[in-house]
């Protein structure tokens, strides 16, 4: 088992390396660089090519690509993300608070979603083709169909106009002031949680339907077990795995993909930071963010695999 874990962790390295190469090249293909973004965008009357060249040199952007990549990699090797090209401050510092925020939203949304999705999905599967099933399906498909930025906007407006309530302006970490923190994050968590829940419910329903048709469920019924026991002990454990996958994939996605929701709810999360970093052509920050999200994605994947092995003995010993 330990060997398996080690192997899996090692297998992440080439993928991460691929991600690194991809983002590195991609950024260089995008027109413009951080110097242009800094000096050409403010509508000022004076421009100085000399200054821009100087800045490029300072940032090492005049170096050949392989050298730039090499120094980035050697930094990464030492777990040193370097400095942001835009603000010149350490990237870890840039990311810290935003990561905490995004992570918390992702955790809250997935908690809400999971708690709702599993019972709803089971219910719909067990009552297939009844009105309950239809209601759950319409609810979940509507969740997939509602743009979260629209839903979020409606939520904000409802609070503003009906309750005259405005969310706190800045993100307060949970440990500083739980109340402010929750007051700010619960809404975005709900707005994305709905869609998320819809994804989970659908998956739960369809895998449950599949599992309920399996031979071993028939065996369990032939043994005279109670329906509840069949569902919880025999079916759920088998059906939960794919649900786990989509839930965790969605979770990994939420971490860096909440751009629109963050925009609507005025959250300074990783998603907005992505947009900012790219629009500033802040290569180092964008690269670090991509690596962070990719690593997180792979780790979530890995955790899911471990969970699979834990839930499914067929995979356990390998």
């Amino acid at each position: 088992m330990a060997l398996y874990i080690l192997k899996r962790l090692l297998a992440m390295v080439p993928t991460l390396l691929g991600v690194a190469v991809l983002i590195f090249l991609l950024l260089r293909v995008i027109p413009g660089d951080v110097v242009e973004a800094r000096y050409l965008t403010q509508g000022s009357q004076f421009q100085s090519q000399e200054l821009m060249d100087l800045e490029r040199k300072k940032l090492g952007l005049d170096q050949p690509l392989w050298k730039q990549f090499g120094s980035w990699m050697s930094g990464l090797g030492r777990l040193d993300f370097g400095l942001s090209m835009w603000t010149a401050s350490p990237i870890t510092e840039e990311i810290k608070l935003r990561f905490a925020l995004s992570l918390q939203v992702a955790i809250m949304a997935s908690t809400i979603a999971t708690l709702l999705a599993i019972p709803l999905g089971i219910l719909a599967a067990v009552k297939q083709d009844s009105w309950v099933d239809y209601a759950v399906r319409v609810f979940s498909i509507a969740g997939l169909a509602t743009p979260s930025f629209w839903l979020g906007t409606l939520m904000i407006l409802a609070m503003l106009i009906i309750f005259k309530w405005v969310p706190p302006m800045v993100f307060t970490p949970l440990w500083v002031n739980p109340w402010d923190n929750l007051a700010q994050l619960i809404w975005p968590a709900l707005a994305v949680g709905y869609r998320y829940c819809a994804v989970g419910t659908r998956m739960m329903r369809s895998t449950m339907l599949e599992v309920l048709r399996e031979d071993y469920i028939r065996t369990a019924r032939a043994k005279g077990l109670w329906l509840k026991l069949i569902l919880t002990r025999h079916a759920l454990k088998n059906a939960i795995l794919p649900v786990l996958t989509v839930i965790s994939m969605e979770f990994a996605f939420l971490l860096g993909g909440l751009v629109v929701t963050e925009q609507v709810f005025n959250l300074n999360g990783l998603g907005m930071l992505f947009v900012e970093a790219i629009s500033h052509r802040d290569y180092t920050l964008t690269q670090a963010l991509v690596m962070l999200v990719a690593t997180f994605f792979l780790i979530v994947n890995f955790v899911v695999d471990i969970a699979y092995a834990w839930l499914d003995p067929r995979i356990r010993y390998r």
Partner: protein
């Protein structure tokens, strides 16, 4: 009403400062949260709505020599940096040397603005002397720049980049913290040299990208003001929701979207076609309609309406595209197009920048206007950061351009239109020596009336005869703020008047 002490001013800032070095950056994102920590040599009078009146700051007074080439400044005594050391002429010299004569390897954004300066000297601890190469009518205006923070000489000597990542000034507030992605906090500087100020206990600049959230913050009274400006819609909503708890200050805004017509692309090399483009715009109707939904309002020439050198409306109305009769104007546009051999329904691409306000509404408006003279325009929107890079490549046909200043001053405002050999930011890519001559002539004109005349000539050539560039509508700055906020006056620039020393909050 006499000022009241105390209270924390909270204001959203739509973007976060890239670094803390004012000499290097050029964004309100730096001014709004960072300016309160510093002083400049001179500043624009905080009570002057036109934003053009010089006022003392670190310099108590100044004098100009007869030949207009030597400026001598007397510094305030007893000014202390936040670290307790005293600020002297040495620091002013070091700061301006960094701006004008940066050491090798250190860049300066504004070097180009001070080419006229020959040297900066500090003959005595409280005297600074600027020597110019030749007299300049706009030199004092250039010292009003809100970016020219006075740094400490010792620090600069050790590390010219230190101020990019640190804050240490003489300003009315001292730096407390900057949480990345969240906010900057400043607290009252008890040893501020301008006795009795500041009134506030501190301020909190909160970074909020989303306009709606900024409006909501003011509306929910979590913030008292946003210094950049809100849309007319937001103003109306706020007034409706908050009634007399909100005060609105408005001013023309020293920013404008221009349209660069690439002279290197056919048929835009033909002045008739360019004139048709400007004739097609009904600016007066546009002003009425767009001022309801966008941050633009006045119909303007090359100077912000209402400022000393601006062309009066009636005279402006004589320029092509400013005629009061839109039908006549459009008919002329069609005629010119036909004459130039541009077919009906001719289509071209209009390049716009991917920023919603006010680029998008102006784009929509212009495309609609051009449609009315039989031009079929598709809009190509480029991501903001790549935008000017692509303008510099000159691949566009017609493109939105942008200019914004911290002070209304013809030298600064009209630089944009100089031949591309003189101005790399000329995205029309034309050479017009006549125009360049006119520019230089007005710059050296000492008599304001004469200067006005030359500017008028310049304006007619650039906007009408040659239609090198066309101007859209002047931006319009709208600041609805809490009625509790006092001691702050709107100016045409969102870079100005942000030291916050005069601002106070009533209960």
């Amino acid at each position: 009403q006499s000022p009241r002490y105390g209270g924390e001013l909270v204001f959203p800032v739509p973007s976060e400062p890239p670094s803390y070095d004012g000499h290097r950056e050029e964004t309100f994102g730096l001014i709004h949260p960072i300016a309160p920590f510093y002083n400049t040599l001179l500043r624009v009078d905080p009570n002057d709505k036109s934003g053009t009146k010089p006022a003392p700051s670190l310099a108590e007074s100044w004098s100009v020599s007869q030949d207009g080439k030597t400026y001598t400044f007397q510094l305030h005594r007893g000014v202390k940096f936040h670290d307790g050391s005293e600020m002297t002429s040495k620091d002013v010299k070091a700061s301006y040397d960094k701006i004008i004569f940066p050491p090798p390897g250190v860049g300066s954004t504004r070097k180009g603005q001070y080419v006229v300066v020959e040297s900066v000297e500090a003959p005595e601890p409280y005297t600074v002397v600027f020597r110019l190469k030749h007299p300049s009518g706009s030199f004092i205006a250039s010292l009003l720049s809100p970016y020219n923070f006075i740094y400490k000489a010792d620090i600069l000597a050790k590390d010219p980049h230190w101020y990019e990542t640190h804050i240490m000034g003489t300003g009315p507030f001292t730096f407390v913290e900057h949480v990345k992605g969240s906010h900057v906090v400043g607290k009252k500087n008890p040893n501020y040299w301008d006795k009795g100020k500041p009134y506030l206990d501190g301020f909190r600049a909160v970074f909020m990208r989303d306009t709606a959230a900024q409006v909501a913050a003011v509306r929910g009274e979590r913030a008292q003001i946003q210094f950049r400006g809100f849309t007319p819609v937001a103003r109306n909503d706020l007034e409706k929701a908050l009634g007399n708890k909100i005060t609105v200050q408005e001013s023309p805004w020293d920013c404008i979207l221009l349209v660069a017509i690439n002279h290197k692309k056919k048929p835009f090399d033909d002045p008739r076609v360019r004139r048709a483009l400007t004739l097609a715009l009904d600016r007066y109707e546009g002003s009425k309609a767009l001022s309801r939904i966008a941050i633009v309002k006045e119909v303007a020439g090359v100077q912000v309406p209402g400022t000393p050198f601006a062309t009066p409306p009636d005279e402006l109305a004589k320029l092509a595209g400013y005629w009061r009769d839109p039908e006549k104007s459009r008919a002329e546009a069609r005629r010119l197009l036909k004459e130039a051999g541009v077919p009906e329904g001719f289509s071209f691409t209009f390049m716009n920048r991917g920023i919603p306000m006010p680029y998008e509404p102006l784009g929509v408006w212009m495309i609609d206007q051009w449609r009315k003279v039989g031009l079929n325009v598709t809009q190509r929107v480029i991501e903001p950061a790549a935008y000017f890079g692509s303008l510099r490549k000159g691949e566009h046909e017609v493109a939105m351009d942008f200019q914004c200043g911290y002070i209304v001053e013809p030298d600064l405002d009209m630089y944009k239109f100089l031949s591309s050999s003189r101005n790399p930011a000329n995205y029309g890519y034309y050479e017009d020596p006549v125009l360049d001559q006119l520019y230089d002539k007005q710059s050296q004109a000492t008599n304001p009336e004469e200067r006005k005349k030359i500017i008028r000539e310049f304006e007619k050539r650039v906007l009408d005869e040659q239609a090198h560039y066309l101007m859209t509508l002047q931006w319009h700055r709208i600041i609805p703020h809490s009625s509790r906020l006092h001691g702050w006056t709107i100016t045409p620039s969102h870079y100005l008047n942000n030291t916050l020393d005069t601002v106070w909050l009533s209960p």
